[in-house]
């Protein structure tokens, strides 16, 4: 078991890389969705809400299976487990992130929009120079939570055969003749990573002087 530690740590790197990439794409997608929601055009808003509700109601496991097996069958494009996992996690994260970003934008008072308009700012200018800097403070802490959720969700990539941390832990168990130690070690590695991230998030919150701690933890996954 001990000689497998380097392998476990290397795969922890894989898990981090996968989750980070998915989180970036999810944040981009989520921001785009949140901006679309700002447009006062009902059908567009229904589409965005439909998208969010869809991903809120489907287990990530099914999204993963769909990305890995469904998309190649349907579109005849080849998708590696890595791309499938990144895509599925990013889709899931984007739905949550659009909620987070929307809340951030909403946290900036209506008055500031009006003041900016009065000062002759265009919509993109207002968004970029006035709304975004303030919204970011509200957006960042729950984003840390979404990242932790994504990291935990990435463990499901093991089920579609992607060799990340969980899968490596299981393979180590299989190759060392079973036993609960590899599983316990697996849990410990995840805990240490996620706990560290949540502590970084807490430090970030203190620096931004935001008093809410509960958003940092993400959701069950």
């Amino acid at each position: 078991m001990m000689q497998y530690w380097p392998l476990m740590l290397k795969s922890a790197g894989t898990t981090l890389w996968l989750s980070w990439l998915a989180m970036l794409l999810g944040a981009l997608g989520g921001t785009a969705l949140a901006l679309l929601r700002q447009i006062r055009f009902a059908p567009l808003r229904w589409v965005v809400i439909g998208y969010m509700e869809f991903f809120r109601s489907i287990p990530i496991l099914i999204v993963l299976f769909f990305a890995f097996y469904g998309v190649p069958l349907l579109l005849e494009v080849d998708i590696s487990p890595f791309v499938a996992a990144t895509l599925a996690l990013a889709l899931h994260a984007s739905a949550t992130m659009s909620e987070v970003v929307s809340a951030g934008i909403a946290s900036v008072g209506r008055g500031q929009w009006e003041a900016a308009a009065a000062a002759g700012f265009s919509w993109p200018q207002t968004m970029r120079h006035i709304i975004a800097p303030q919204a970011l403070r509200v957006i960042l802490p729950p984003s840390v939570g979404v990242f932790i959720t994504t990291l935990k969700e990435s463990s499901l990539a093991s089920i579609i055969g992607y060799i990340e941390l969980t899968r490596t832990g299981l393979l180590v168990r299989d190759s060392t003749g079973g036993g609960f130690l590899p599983l316990l070690a697996l849990g410990a590695v995840y805990f240490v990573i996620n706990y560290a991230i949540s502590q970084v998030g807490a430090a970030l919150e203190r620096r931004l002087h935001i008093g809410r701690r509960s958003d940092l933890v993400g959701a069950m996954a």
């Binding site: 392998l7 970036l24 494009v77 080849d78 998708i79 791309v83 393979l171 180590v172 168990r173 190759s175």
Partner: protein, 272 residues
């Protein structure tokens, strides 16, 4: 904070580039797999590294075993490099269907139903599915189990056992896992009464865990183990069959088998 945003954007660009490059490489047209293997210089091989001695994972992340040695010989014969892709029971078929791999070499039983979606070579091994049980189990043979009432049997989700076991024991309680290691764990922990698996895997498992396991008398099904490949690839099939036939005839196969399993290989063509 321009630096932070720059980093973010760069990361996002890398991510987007990664996704598009792999998404735009359209699936291989059927009938060209062999050409692709040769021009790529690598052959992508699906393996199941939780199935010693067929294959298992080493601390350095590489796999070893009977199936892995066969894969290396195949790559040598084609003068290309082997690229191993770890998969699971269901993935053995779907990764061929979706052209994620060129061949599957993973204790893969050929049958007509599977052949409707993928292709198989001639067999390189003939084995049988048998029942593995704890050494202290009362039951000694399949015949004693009648219709399976009262037995909890661990099987592979979607594997050969998922067809064979319910047919043989319609009243048995099936516990489906997605790998042998999980089944073995459940069996040793008493969460299943027995598991249905390849007899050669069973023998190795019994040897690895002295005094804990036994095999029941009687076989559930004969199994011809072969190399899997995508359907509609006559050139690849032709070459693979030639490889398998020569591998069998030359005595290479028998030597490899003895190296990994520790006893003489049974006849590949069983007497009918």
């Amino acid at each position: 904070m321009p630096t932070k945003r720059g980093l973010f954007l760069r990361g996002a660009l890398v991510a987007a580039a990664l996704l598009t490059t792999s998404a735009t490489s359209a699936l291989a047209q059927s009938g060209t797999a062999l050409q692709q293997i040769l021009s790529r210089g690598t052959i992508r091989i699906a393996i199941l590294p939780s199935l010693p001695p067929y294959s298992k994972l080493l601390p350095n992340g590489e796999a070893e075993g009977y199936d892995i040695d066969i894969a290396r010989r195949l790559a040598d014969a084609l003068k290309v490099k082997p690229e191993f892709v770890v998969t699971d029971i269901a993935g053995r078929i779907t990764s061929l269907q979706t052209h994620k791999v060129d061949v599957t070499i993973a204790d893969f039983t050929r049958n007509v139903e599977r052949s409707t979606t993928i292709a198989f070579t001639n067999p390189y091994l003939v084995t049988a599915m048998r029942m593995l049980a704890p050494a202290d189990a009362k039951v000694k043979s399949l015949a004693e189990m009648a219709d399976g009432t009262g037995y909890k049997i661990a099987i592979d989700r979607g594997g050969t056992a998922d067809k064979v076991v319910p047919a043989a024991f319609p009243k048995a309680n099936l516990v489906r896992f997605s790998g042998q290691a999980d089944q073995m764990s459940a069996l040793l922990n008493g969460q299943a009464d027995m598991m249905a698996e390849d007899q050669f895997y069973n023998l190795q498992a019994i040897k690895d865990r002295p005094g804990k396991l036994k095999q029941l008398d009687g076989t559930l099904a004969r199994a011809e183990i072969a190399i899997g490949l995508p359907q509609g690839e006559p050139d690849l099939l032709r070459i693979l069959n030639l490889f398998v036939d020569q591998f069998n005839a030359s005595g290479d196969n028998a030597r490899l088998f003895e190296k990994w399993f520790g006893f003489e290989q049974p006849k590949i063509q069983a007497p009918y």
